[in-house]
């Protein structure tokens, strides 16, 4: 297993428009992200939830790497579950709430933007999203990992049984797979942010 290889960050993109999904996928891939696109909030939760349930430590490295989600980018206006509804559900979930969420909208409505930011969205992009917007994503991913590292330090005891995965989140079991894989990706950053992960890789 190529432990030394840097795995790209994985972004889950949610948009009911096929055209916009194609566009965001291209934008993300061009910016070296691994991408999964879904066409609704419920499918997004399914994707996140399924992997959340399956990820009980220790799981093989390969599985974890494939399913981990490091950031969610979602359209605001979608039929059924809106981007805002999805955001709320993510923030309500102990296993998912540390994953940064970015909202996209074609409408520049300050009250909408504020509402999303207040609910915990990390960023708001006005559509059409551009290549230059992509550079704003990585900082949020790295920031959330620092936050997880802080949580992990706070909860040293409870992490003992999740040591093999990655100690990233205050929820040792059933945490988002994104937390697990974060520790394995970005070797250089792992070394500086989460020294413990060096040990965890040997499991």
């Amino acid at each position: 297993m190529a432990v030394a290889t840097e795995t790209p960050f994985h972004v889950l993109a949610v948009d009911d428009s096929l055209l916009d999904r194609k566009l965001i996928e291209r934008l993300l891939k061009t910016s070296s992200f691994q991408v999964t696109t879904v066409d609704s909030g419920s499918k997004a939760l399914e994707f996140l939830g399924i992997h959340g349930e399956d990820s009980s430590p220790p799981v093989s490295d390969a599985d974890q790497l494939e399913v981990a989600v490091n950031l969610i980018i979602t359209d605001y206006c979608m039929p059924g579950m809106t981007g805002y509804d999805l955001l709320k559900k993510i923030k309500e979930s102990t296993s998912l709430r540390d994953i940064p969420v970015v909202i996209m909208s074609s409408e520049n409505i300050p009250s909408r933007i504020n509402r999303c930011l207040e609910e915990g969205a990390d960023e708001f992009f006005l559509k059409p999203v551009r290549l230059s917007d992509m550079s704003k994503l990585k900082p949020h991913i790295l920031k959330s990992r620092c936050k997880e590292h802080y949580h992990q330090e706070q909860h040293q005891q409870s992490d003992s049984d999740s040591d093999s995965n990655s100690n990233e989140c205050s929820n040792p079991t059933n945490n988002s797979s994104s937390d697990n894989s974060n520790s394995r990706k970005r070797k250089a950053e792992d070394d500086e942010v989460l020294p413990q992960t060096n040990r965890s890789r040997h499991s």
Binding site: S17, L18, L19, D20, K22, L23, R26, K127, P128
Partner: protein, 151 residues
């Protein structure tokens, strides 16, 4: 093969599409995203737009013919149309959709009908122009096409 003539035609056509307001900067953004790994990206996205928008136009027309008109739904359809148009840089289309939406807000049926006719015309014109543009591009081949310097 001598591409210089073709290139000139392509550059000139593109300039005119921008000057006449058919396209805006977003179209350039799409072209920037096209490369060897995705050599037909722009054409694919544009094809998606026309597929989407044809369907929306049909739905809008049907919704207008229903009585009583559901202006909320009409606005929603126009909103989707506007979004797709905006994603590919179809400026005139986007603006006409905004007009349509304004008529929906006013519950102005006649205004909506007039606007729909304009949308259909803009749609057909843009489709024809872009088809020509892509035809020209195809003649220069993928390698030349991927060169951004001659925007």
């Amino acid at each position: 093969m001598d591409y210089s003539n073709l290139r000139r035609q392509i550059i000139s056509m593109k300039k005119s599409l921008f000057d006449q307001g058919y396209l805006d900067e977003q179209f350039n953004q799409l072209e920037e995203l096209q490369d060897d790994s995705s050599p037909n990206f722009v054409e694919e996205v544009v094809a998606l737009f026309f597929k989407d928008s044809s369907r929306l136009l049909t739905n809008i027309e049907r919704a207008l013919e229903k009585y009583p008109q559901d202006f909320y739904r009409l606005d929603s359809l126009a909103h989707q149309f506007k979004g797709s148009g905006s994603s590919i840089g179809a400026l005139r289309m986007k603006n006409e959709c905004s007009m349509f939406k304004a008529h929906c807000s006013d519950r102005n049926l006649e205004g909506c009908r007039r606007s729909l006719q304009k949308m259909k015309r803009e749609h057909a014109t843009l489709k024809q122009k872009l088809e020509t543009y892509f035809q020209l591009l195809r003649q220069v081949g993928p390698r030349e096409r991927a060169v951004n310097s001659w925007k």
